[in-house]
Subunit: 109 residues, 2 copies
């Protein structure tokens, strides 16, 4: 878990749930590249991502504000990846953009 | 992907990311019971959950409003599961409560 961030609520979450069609090493590379690209975007806070053995995944990225999400959505390389995602990799996905109002955590000693 | 819901934005998401300590069949049973219990709560919309082979999981549940989330948090059986989670199952977790402002999806033909 890479939750090192202590941003105060008021930031935004992009909840991306997706189903992959097949196992494809090219997908893994693209996903890694996109994560790297996101991390270097203005307003990026952090990203959490889990995919199971059935190819279902949830990725939640956190952003300072809605403008940062909009810029990320329109990034040229990201647009190309979104297109490839629809054409090749995902059988379905759903995106929700939500404003975080509360944030708390637990860590065992 | 079980995204059959067509709720208009304005509903709430509870984003729960957790790291399990060990593989424990008792955990799987509890998780299944809690999902069932959540589905029967007032204000519940839907739930999406993914856990990988390293024991990291993201569960996002969606609720009509904040009052529904509060009731669910205070449900007696759920309180017992939360306690067991902290004592036995999770090495860490983080909860974020967020108001969904935008929601869109893709499904291949």
């Amino acid at each position: 878990m890479r939750s090192k961030n202590d941003s105060k609520p008021g930031y935004y979450a992009v909840i991306f749930i997706s189903q992959l069609r097949d196992d494809d090493p090219a997908y893994d590379k693209m996903a890694k590249d996109m994560e790297e690209l996101a991390r270097n975007q203005k307003g990026f806070i952090e990203l959490e991502s889990v995919r199971d053995h059935m190819g279902q995944g949830i990725t939640v990225s956190y952003w300072k504000d809605k403008a940062s999400i909009q810029s990320w959505k329109l990034d040229v390389d990201h647009l190309a990846a979104q297109k490839a995602g629809r054409e090749k990799w995902y059988s379905e996905y759903r995106v929700r953009i939500a404003r975080v109002e509360k944030d708390y955590q637990f860590k065992s000693e």
